[in-house]
């Protein structure tokens, strides 16, 4: 009987040579990544290398792992989706300083979430693929084709940015660091968001234009205020773990399903009836319309309501157009309502087209402030102060619609009472219904 030996994978590299320029630091960085994956004895089928655009975006093709090569600066978003959907995968992002700039908000957000991905920034201080233009990490004074007289922008401190915003791990170093493979391995083993800002030489552009060398790199980093080393290392709940923990209690519970409305009453409609309530946002106009619809449905009617309001939440107008009908009807606008309730000046401001289209068979209920409105419809002025109890603004819609139903009788008022008493704010709504009925009783 021979012993079973498991041979760790000897390389995660393909046989193809890198496509990078002579002296470029990208190849050595990728070699260190390869060493880190060997050291961690990862399964290449369980690793996804996510890359985006620029020279760094060529990297994933040289590994036997799975890969997602996407759009400029968005690699962090793909990686987040992959990790969230399958937390068992080891997700490594390789991006450049270009992607860091254009995808800055994604990096910050990934750090804030502490999503368990490892981001390696190949930071060569310029856009190496497109002609050496300056990036968000180009040092002040740096000469590039787009900063021919010296860069005027302050370079981005990538580690500090993710570090102060929740990253579990942030390291700054260079492609020459002897322990870089260990740093990569440590970052990948870190449960949360890990970023390594790895400076390297762009021999095609930045090195040539700025006499930037290996010898001067670490010194330059320090002199520019970019301290190398492990800068952030903290333990915090990784996002996909936290997400699952936060939702564990509701997994398997029923998804929101239909809430059938019981039908217990007859109705008096032989054609569709349209009601419009014109009031102010924050006045529960839509809720009032909904309760009248539900009352109709309790009487066997079909219903649909189209609401109109500005983007503001509790200011401006709120108009609800409601159809109740004996047959199912397609969604359409109300042009000439059978009933129009004007319950505020905001609502009156929107009532013009309705008032102009209404006929003598139609009914307008209005607050006293607008009793001089012009329309052919029958106008009933209701003074809310004549009610027995003070009517809160948020009940005005239901009060006036209840009054309208008491006058027009499309379905039994008991159906409305049941609808009002069935949901939230039942007590307040029931009082509004009775108040409305009493005002025209």
């Amino acid at each position: 009987m021979s012993a079973i030996t498991i041979t760790p994978i000897s390389t995660f590299r393909t046989d193809d040579p890198y496509p990078f320029c002579p002296g470029c630091g990208h190849g050595p960085i990728l070699d260190r990544l390869n060493e880190a994956m060997i050291k961690l004895d990862l399964d290449p089928a369980k690793v996804v290398i996510v890359s985006d655009i620029g020279c760094s975006g060529l990297s994933d093709q040289y590994f036997i792992t799975s890969a997602f090569h996407g759009l400029h600066g968005r690699s962090t978003t793909y990686a987040t989706g992959i990790k969230l959907a399958n937390p068992d995968l080891e997700v490594v992002v390789i991006m450049g300083d270009g992607g860091t700039g254009i995808g800055g908000t994604h990096l910050i957000s990934a750090a804030r979430r502490n999503i368990g991905i490892t981001v390696i920034v190949m930071n060569n201080l310029n856009f190496g693929m497109t002609g050496g233009q300056h990036s968000t990490t180009t040092p002040e004074g740096g000469i590039t084709p787009t900063t021919p007289f010296g860069n005027l922008e302050h370079p981005l401190d990538i580690c500090a940015t993710v570090g102060v915003n929740g990253a579990a791990y942030a390291y700054r170093g260079s492609s020459f660091d002897s322990d870089l493979a260990d740093r990569f391995a440590a970052a990948m083993e870190k449960p949360g968001f890990a970023l390594l800002d790895v400076w390297d030489l762009c021999t095609a552009y930045y090195v040539r234009s700025n006499k930037f060398t290996r010898a001067g790199m670490e010194e330059s980093m320090r002199s520019w205020g970019f301290e190398p080393g492990l800068l952030y290392d903290r333990d915090a709940v990784e996002y996909s773990v936290g997400y699952r923990a936060a939702h564990a209690a509701i997994i398997g519970t029923p998804v929101a399903d239909a809430l059938p409305v019981p039908v217990d009453y007859p109705n008096n409609l032989d054609r569709p009836m349209s009601l419009v309530v014109a009031g102010s946002a924050g006045g529960k106009v839509r809720s009032a319309s909904r309760l009248v619809a539900l009352g109709g449905m309790r009487s066997g009617l079909w219903a649909a309501q189209r609401d109109d309001y500005p983007v503001t939440v509790k200011s401006g107008h709120s108009v609800s157009e409601l159809w109740i009908a004996p047959q199912e009807m397609p969604l359409m606008a109300v042009t000439s309502p059978d009933v129009l309730a004007i319950i505020s000046s905001d609502g009156y401001g929107k009532a013009g087209p309705y008032l102009g289209a209404m006929t003598p068979d139609d009914l307008v209920l209005t607050i006293p402030e607008h009793s001089d409105l012009e329309t052919q419809a029958r106008v009933v002025v209701i003074d809310p102060t004549s009610a027995e109890n003070r009517i809160p603004k948020t009940s005005m819609g239901l009060v006036y619609l209840s009054a309208a139903l008491a006058i027009t009788d499309p379905y039994p008022l008991d159906a409305l009472r049941e609808a009002a008493g069935a949901g939230s704010f039942a007590e307040v709504n029931l009082e509004a219904v009775e108040t409305g009925i009493a005002l025209v009783g």
Binding site: Y243, V261, A293, P330, L331
Partner: protein
């Protein structure tokens, strides 16, 4: 809406298109949602945040629309059925990722709850101004599929269909709706169509992720973490997703992206044709405008008019076969839409010498029944 099965008397509920879309997505097997708040699509995001965890899925609010799309693409490549929802300004930011989904052949459902544009336009105002935008909203001009519900029950059924087509053709499928359809509450039958059964993704767990032989064939999908490693790229690529500029490979890939949809129009084409023999006029409508169109047709017929109606459910690819059938014997085509004729130009292309009459509105109001009746007369 197919939510439950019940043999008792007809039961109705009062719901909006947003709820219908969410239920449709979950019934179709959606397990990943990412989106960014935007009126009038926020309801879908908020509902998904509550509902998706119940089926073991993940919903997340992205830092922006671009991130939301990126997360959906990443999740879809792990095997999840993914959906996102936004409005016109968000589709603008989705643009690059729509192209990535096309190129990488990622099934994805994108809900566009249209609002009045351009720019921020009218956030709480209905419009149908994105009907060309969703079709051509990314570089390259490659096809996508666009479905348009016209009421709450269709918001459910076409969401389910969108997932089915996304899987079938491995491409982004848009559900083009609007503020009114998403937010209008309607009474609907609870026990209508049966509960949708989501279609399973056709997968394989080893081998190359792509194939385009024959050109219209759709290769089963790989997913990260299952079987051997595989690649994905947004660049022109070979069957292994290795970047290439080889003209033969690039040509075959790009022809495949077109052929897989164009050669299968019959599987996608969906209309609600209500044709009357002897009619010389037809109303072609879609989305929210179909409501007034249907009502106008009913009233015109009650007045003795012989007029046909066709509501387009699959806006892209254009349902040419159904339209050509419907145009037989027709002299006049009325196309109401909440834009200045963005879809009627497609109708004109198919209509030949027939007269095409637009009924158009871009002030935020809905086209009325009377306006359509006027145009038909």
């Amino acid at each position: 809406m197919g939510m439950t099965t019940n043999t008792e008397a007809p039961r109705r509920e009062y719901v909006d298109g947003t709820s219908a879309i969410v239920r449709g997505a979950i019934d179709a097997g959606c397990t990943f949602f990412a989106g960014y708040p935007i009126t009038p699509a926020s309801g879908i995001l908020m509902s998904m945040m509550r509902e998706i965890p119940k089926v073991g899925g993940v919903a997340i609010q992205g830092e922006d629309e671009i991130a939301s799309m990126g997360m959906c693409l990443g999740a879809a490549m792990t095997g999840a059925k993914a959906m996102t929802a936004t409005s016109g300004p968000g589709i603008s930011l989705y643009s690059e990722s729509i192209g990535l989904a096309i190129m990488g052949e990622v099934p994805l459902v994108i809900v566009d709850v249209q609002r009045l544009g351009p720019a921020t336009g009218g956030a709480t105002t209905a419009a149908q101004g994105d009907v060309q935008f969703v079709r051509w909203g990314t570089g390259g001009g490659y096809p996508v599929i666009v479905l348009a519900p016209s009421n709450v029950p269709e918001s459910y059924s076409l969401t389910v269909k969108a997932f089915e087509l996304a899987e079938r053709f491995r491409c982004p499928v848009f559900l083009l709706t609007d503020k009114e359809l998403a937010m209008t509450l309607s009474a609907v039958d609870v026990d209508g169509p049966t509960v949708a059964q989501g279609t399973e993704r056709t997968e394989k767990h080893e081998g190359l992720p792509y194939s385009w032989e024959p050109a219209d064939a759709v290769e089963p999908m790989r997913r990260y973490g299952e079987g051997d490693a595989f690649r994905f790229t947004g660049s022109t690529h070979d069957e292994g997703a290795y970047i290439t500029k080889n003209a033969a490979k690039v040509g075959a890939l790009n022809e495949h992206l077109i052929a897989k949809i164009e050669h299968h129009r019959d599987e996608i084409e969906m209309v609600d044709a209500d044709l009357i023999p002897g009619a010389d006029t037809i109303v072609i409508s879609y989305g929210v405008t179909a409501g007034a169109a249907r009502a106008a047709i009913t009233r015109l017929r009650s007045e003795g008019a012989t007029v046909s109606s066709l509501v387009v459910h699959s806006l892209w690819p254009i349902p040419e076969a159904a339209l050509n059938d419907a145009f037989e014997g027709i002299d006049r085509i009325v196309v109401p839409e909440l834009n200045m004729g963005l879809y009627s130009r497609e109708i004109e292309r198919i209509a030949g010498s027939r007269e095409v009459i637009g009924v158009n509105r871009i002030d935020g109001g809905l086209i009325t029944v009377d306006e359509i009746m006027e145009a038909v007369r």
